[in-house]
Symmetry: C2
């Protein structure tokens, strides 16, 4: 008997028939003697519907109130699945984030989980119930309803698996695993049987939509066995996310990720003195805007420099506004920006021990006449920022250049 | 400066424009220096949409899970109104039933309020916030989400007014007050400036849809000053519900109420011995079915009797089923029922001191050939059960017979 946490996304619970399908899958696991915790998203489209409704009242909806509203989406699906399970003769009980109690910080619309009280769940599991938990939501210490931001249901699933010390956390999505890159762009993209946590972390952070990055971080931190599966297939093992020590020889490159949701901001003519990076990014961070890539070059004249970073496209205008206000304090000359860029990244733990990956990448892109606007590297990835019009071309030529269509 | 609780129903918050209208009305009261607590229903149609969704999964939805779902309707409107108030520059904050904390018993879908923790609300009101509270919902002692049943938002409003010792509880609806009877049936029906609590209680219990009966009970018990107003009119004083001691001379009859939602059940050939009423109604009450009128006649043969009662039409089949099962235990001969009946009632505190009301009523109905199937009286009302086809006719002739179109 194992304890399994299963997370189903919005398309998997998009209508009553699909909810009944989820109930059948859960029932199969229960019939095998497992304890099952189910984490659900809202019905697909529901969160967007609620946000649109909020915007019809307030162009920038108050974050606390927005969370009160959008948290209702999951509250509906957990009740529906519990009913579907009872209809099949199983014992089931729904839990909102507040009822579990999933405690988060108070950063409304993008809260982080601080702690989970797993006692009630454990008691109900031991009494034979399927526990059906609302993903994406929690409460802060004062009892205000919070949400974890887009994709936060994955994080809820993994965090519950960690708190309950579950044997496996299964993430059911509308894809059947993790691919070398998006098959809609490269038809030859190949499904990976395994991927390491570090690679998955990079893939997620780079915009691969299969798993939300925080869920992967959580899984790595608490060593949760994580598997990505299709909710529309009866069979299939999906992609298992492994710890490197478990893995056999790794391929050099596991996949190509990309992110269309980025925008680039450059602060020109910044005085080249200590503390200047903080002067620029401090106000941005205070506004709760996440910064992704950061690049600072030595200035040509030795006294000033240019400072470039990327933010999520949805926060581009807000970030520009903040910097315009801070321009004088920073002592910079000018703010420039571009929200028509994308980031493309090669990811692979094997990269560490192989030189020449970067030069092959740069040469491949140069051959196609694609200009590199920013470059950033880590031990297991190389990212470049390019004009968004070259995205598909860049991904295709890189997929071919590194032979990703063939199993390593 | 007064503390005012305002309750708005589903049609008053049925779309974004109407929500903005509510915000403007609230702002006018704030501008006059009052503290305002707003209690909201779900958008009109939303509760029914959610119930239909639940029924697509489970023909008789699990009550606990149904409450989890339908409670989301108010959670959406409180967030939207809070946003609308902020958009007008006011401080506002939404509260779910759990957040207030409105503690109820655990009779899901028809819970009763046990206690209200008003401290958080009071603190926010003193800090200048408009408190926007979800009507219709609470939590039981274990933190399970409960709902108060149809029309429960009125009860929430009055209960909050009582807990906060508010100066007035204003119930905004799509009618502009309480009428002598339904103007759709009798065009000459007249709006009452005042009505006593006892009369309002009878009107509500008899099916007048202006206020939910429990809210009137609450108001009477805690001496909450209650006023019914239209949310679609700028002006108008609505109908004030008074305590009898405040009132001047009362008219004999204040109004005519009726209820189309009733069904009649008769248990025939019941042994005429002590405890038999309990034997019949015990199983019905155990199934949480409310019984309205109860009549037992002395049996013709001296050893058996017939026992008749009415229930809500929606619970008719369930009640019949329960009694069929209990038939042998009761020792009765047969169960008969009729769900094509209505109840028509005359209400008036003045009735106490005037004889002849009943005979005028019975004579008026007899003249029209309307047969009386059941009769029940209290100090301030006389109710009769008749065939539903005579409803409009009965109400019209009684309205005329008692000169209700003229102010007393």
């Amino acid at each position: 008997m194992a304890l399994i946490v299963q997370k189903y996304g919005g398309t998997s619970v998009g209508n009553p028939d699909r909810i009944k399908n989820v109930a059948q899958r859960v029932a199969r696991f229960k019939a095998q003697g497992h304890q099952v915790v189910v984490v659900l998203s809202a019905m697909s489209g529901e969160t967007n519907r609620l946000i649109a409704l909020a915007k019809s009242i307030q162009s920038t909806p108050d974050p606390r109130e927005l969370d009160v509203m959008v948290a209702t989406g999951e509250q509906v699906t957990i009740a529906l699945l519990s009913m579907a399970l009872m209809e099949m003769g199983l014992k089931a009980k729904s839990y909102t984030g507040a009822q579990v109690r999933i405690v988060t910080d108070d950063a409304f619309t993008k809260a982080r989980i601080l702690s989970i009280d797993e006692e009630n769940l454990r008691r109900d599991l031991n009494a034979g119930y399927v526990a059906v938990v609302a993903g994406f939501q929690g409460v802060d210490e004062q009892g205000n309803i919070t949400t974890l931001g887009r994709g936060g249901s994955d994080t809820t699933g993994v965090a519950l698996a960690a708190a309950l010390k579950a044997d496996e956390c299964q993430i059911y999505t509308d894809v059947d695993g993790v691919y070398t890159t998006d098959p809609r762009i490269v038809p030859e993209a190949r499904k990976l049987k395994t991927i390491t946590f570090e690679e998955m972390l990079e893939m997620a952070s780079l915009g691969s939509k299969v798993l939300q990055i925080r869920s992967v971080e959580f899984a790595g931190k608490y060593k949760v066995k994580l598997r990505v599966l299709s909710s529309f297939e009866e069979e299939g093992e999906g992609t298992l996310i492994t710890f490197e020590e478990d893995a056999m020889e790794q391929p050099i490159i596991s996949g190509i990720a990309f992110n269309r949701d980025e925008a680039k901001i450059t602060v020109l003519g910044v005085p080249d003195r200590p503390g200047i990076a903080y002067a620029i990014l401090g106000p941005v961070a205070d506004a709760n805007i996440d910064v992704d890539m950061i690049i600072q070059n030595v200035g040509a004249d030795g006294t000033t420099t240019d400072f470039t970073f990327t933010v999520n496209r949805s926060e581009y205008s807000k970030a520009i506004g903040i910097l315009q206000t801070a321009l004088k304090d920073i002592g910079a000359r000018e703010i420039k920006g571009d929200d028509k860029i994308v980031k493309v990244s090669l990811v692979g733990v094997g990269m560490r021990s192989h030189s020449g990956i970067a030069s092959t990448m740069f040469k491949t892109l140069a051959t196609e006449g694609i200009n590199l606007q920013m470059i950033s590297t880590s031990e297991i990835k190389i990212s470049v920022v390019i004009d968004e019009k070259y995205l598909e071309l860049a991904v295709r030529v890189l997929h071919k250049a590194f032979n990703l269509e063939q199993a390593a």
